[in-house]
């Protein structure tokens, strides 16, 4: 019996270590190869010769634009949907169906979102390859993450807050806007950060909707390029090993920072102590 236990623990331990080792290997490999090439020039200069020379300044700006558009569009929609589910909709067949489709939305491969965005925003609505087409596509893609995070946090708001507010003569709407949602701001923030993380790392959906222009985007209808797309282009066309790794390293640093922040917010600040 004892030996069985020991063997079991050993196997589990090795598997856990393996997971950790893979992560460290990937991140470490990228950082070792990429970090030496990240410098002021790389961060502040425009790319030259298709990215072979120069920096990735316009690409960083493009990434920020697309991500911001996505999060600005999806946050209000996500909060509204979550509020509807938890506060208004009665548990029933309709809500279950909507929830089922939201779950499916979360599991669809991103390239499908890209294809949809290309057909609908880029071609049908005539927005072209642009920041706005990409932002809208990503907004749809990260919506389930936001809805889920907001919903979970709405559910933890104690009934006594609702009763307290209603007993003072507040309407349901006032209660939701002035008491319940403020209680959930950490949960909503966590959802937003996870959404941003997903949007920044996205490649296929962005490539099909934002395009790949290297110049600085000056309007929502300009095509641009995000870091993930740039990374893909650089490596698939074999333009520059150095720049590829530098971009990859920067990307992973950003994603790590975002995830750590999300973890910090959800664990340290907790769910409902909106003080």
């Amino acid at each position: 019996m004892k030996i069985k236990n020991i063997i079991f623990y050993a196997i589990l331990g090795i598997l856990a270590l393996l997971t950790l080792a893979t992560l460290i290997l990937i991140v470490g490999y990228l950082l070792i190869n990429g970090l030496p090439h990240i410098n002021m020039e790389f961060l502040t200069q425009d790319p030259k010769m298709m990215g072979k020379e120069g920096g990735i300044f316009t690409i960083i700006v493009g990434t920020i634009y697309v991500t911001l558009v996505a999060i600005i569009i999806s946050t209000p929609i996500g909060i509204a949907a979550a509020v509807y589910y938890t506060e208004y909709a009665k548990e029933g067949i309709i809500v279950q169906i909507i929830r089922f489709f939201t779950e499916i939305l979360a599991g669809i491969p991103s390239v499908i979102f890209g294809l949809f965005g290309f057909a609908f925003f880029v071609v049908f609505l005539g927005m072209g390859w642009s920041v706005i087409s990409g932002g809208l596509t990503l907004a749809i893609m990260i919506l389930p993450t936001l809805i889920r995070a907001t919903e979970e946090s709405l559910k933890t708001v104690p009934m006594s807050y609702r009763e307290g507010s209603l007993s003072l003569g507040a309407t349901k709407w006032q209660t939701i806007v002035k008491v319940i949602i403020p209680c959930c701001k950490n949960g909503i923030l966590t959802g937003m950060i996870l959404g941003i993380g997903r949007a920044i790392g996205e490649t296929a959906a962005v490539m099909l909707t934002v395009g790949g222009a290297l110049k600085l985007p000056t309007s929502l209808f300009d095509s641009t390029r995000t870091m993930s797309v740039h990374l893909y282009m650089l490596s698939s066309e074999g333009l520059s090993q150095e720049k590829t790794f530098a971009t990859g390293a920067l990307l992973i640093i950003i994603v790590l920072i975002i995830n750590t922040t999300a973890n910090f917010i959800s664990s340290r600040l907790g769910g409902n102590n909106g003080n």
Binding site: E163, G164, S165, L166, G169, P182, N273
Partner: protein
């Protein structure tokens, strides 16, 4: 002595279960009415019919009439917001919002349209003084209300309720989660509040009912067994069941 609430033939059902049976009662203005009885006897349910908090629970149906100043509060045309403004409530567990002390108190007035900063400041000071919390909190009005002790939180909840200037205050076992010192503070408060407000208090604690109330109603299994002046209920109950309960033979 004016009648504030007049309840006639009130029946309440949770689905098929009848929680209140043929309740007739009058609640008098500027008096404290205590509702006593064992757990599950319907006293909290009854309390919550007076400001229609039971509306929040699905499958509740109500028969009979409850008149507040001679108007049926279950009439379709009765303004629910107005009712809850006139009939405030304090809950069993202190439930201040996770906001500052100041924002907790001005929440109600703001909702009802008070915007003037000076007026809001005045309301905060007035209500905190009314609940004897002003001296303890005047230097930390803009700190979170969750940093207060349980007793202070409950007094803040009473102040929050007073801020919308209700006529009636319903209290659902307001001291059951508090220590004896906080309890006696709140009991002392009740007496002062009756000068301006009508109070209905649910309590598990018989001594409390005896100490603070003018009238007492004894509930058992969804019925009102006896309903009279507090001293009569406690010294000379007419019903055997009331006597058994207040002498501690069951409950």
């Amino acid at each position: 002595m004016e009648t504030k609430f007049k309840i006639k033939n009130l029946n309440l059902y949770y689905g098929n279960f009848q929680a209140l049976m043929n309740i007739d009662m009058e609640i008098y203005e500027n008096k404290i009415t205590a509702l006593i009885g064992p757990s599950g006897c319907g006293k909290s349910t009854f309390l919550r019919t007076l400001n229609r908090m039971n509306d929040l629970i699905p499958n509740v149906s109500i028969e009979g009439t409850i008149k507040l100043d001679n108007k049926d509060i279950y009439n379709k045309d009765y303004d629910l917001i107005e009712l809850r403004k006139r009939v405030g409530m304090v809950f069993q567990k202190p439930n201040p919002f996770p906001k500052t002390i100041y924002d907790n108190i001005v929440y109600g007035p703001k909702i009802h349209g008070v915007k003037d900063k000076e007026k809001l400041d005045y309301i905060v000071e007035r209500t905190l003084k009314e609940v004897a919390l002003w001296d303890e909190t005047k230097d930390r009005l803009h700190k979170s209300a969750l940093g207060l002790s349980g007793g202070q939180q409950q007094r803040l909840c009473i102040a929050r309720c007073l801020a919308v200037e209700p006529e009636v205050i319903l209290m659902d076992e307001p001291t059951s989660a508090l220590d004896p010192v906080s309890t006696s503070k709140i009991e002392g408060l009740l007496e002062e509040l009756t000068e301006k407000y009508t109070i209905v208090i649910v309590t598990h604690n018989m001594q409390q009912a005896g100490r603070v109330s003018d009238y007492t109603s004894f509930f058992l299994n969804g019925k009102v067994i006896e309903n009279d002046k507090t001293e009569v209920i406690f010294s000379n109950p007419k019903d055997k069941k009331t006597e058994d309960y207040i002498t501690g033979r069951f409950g």
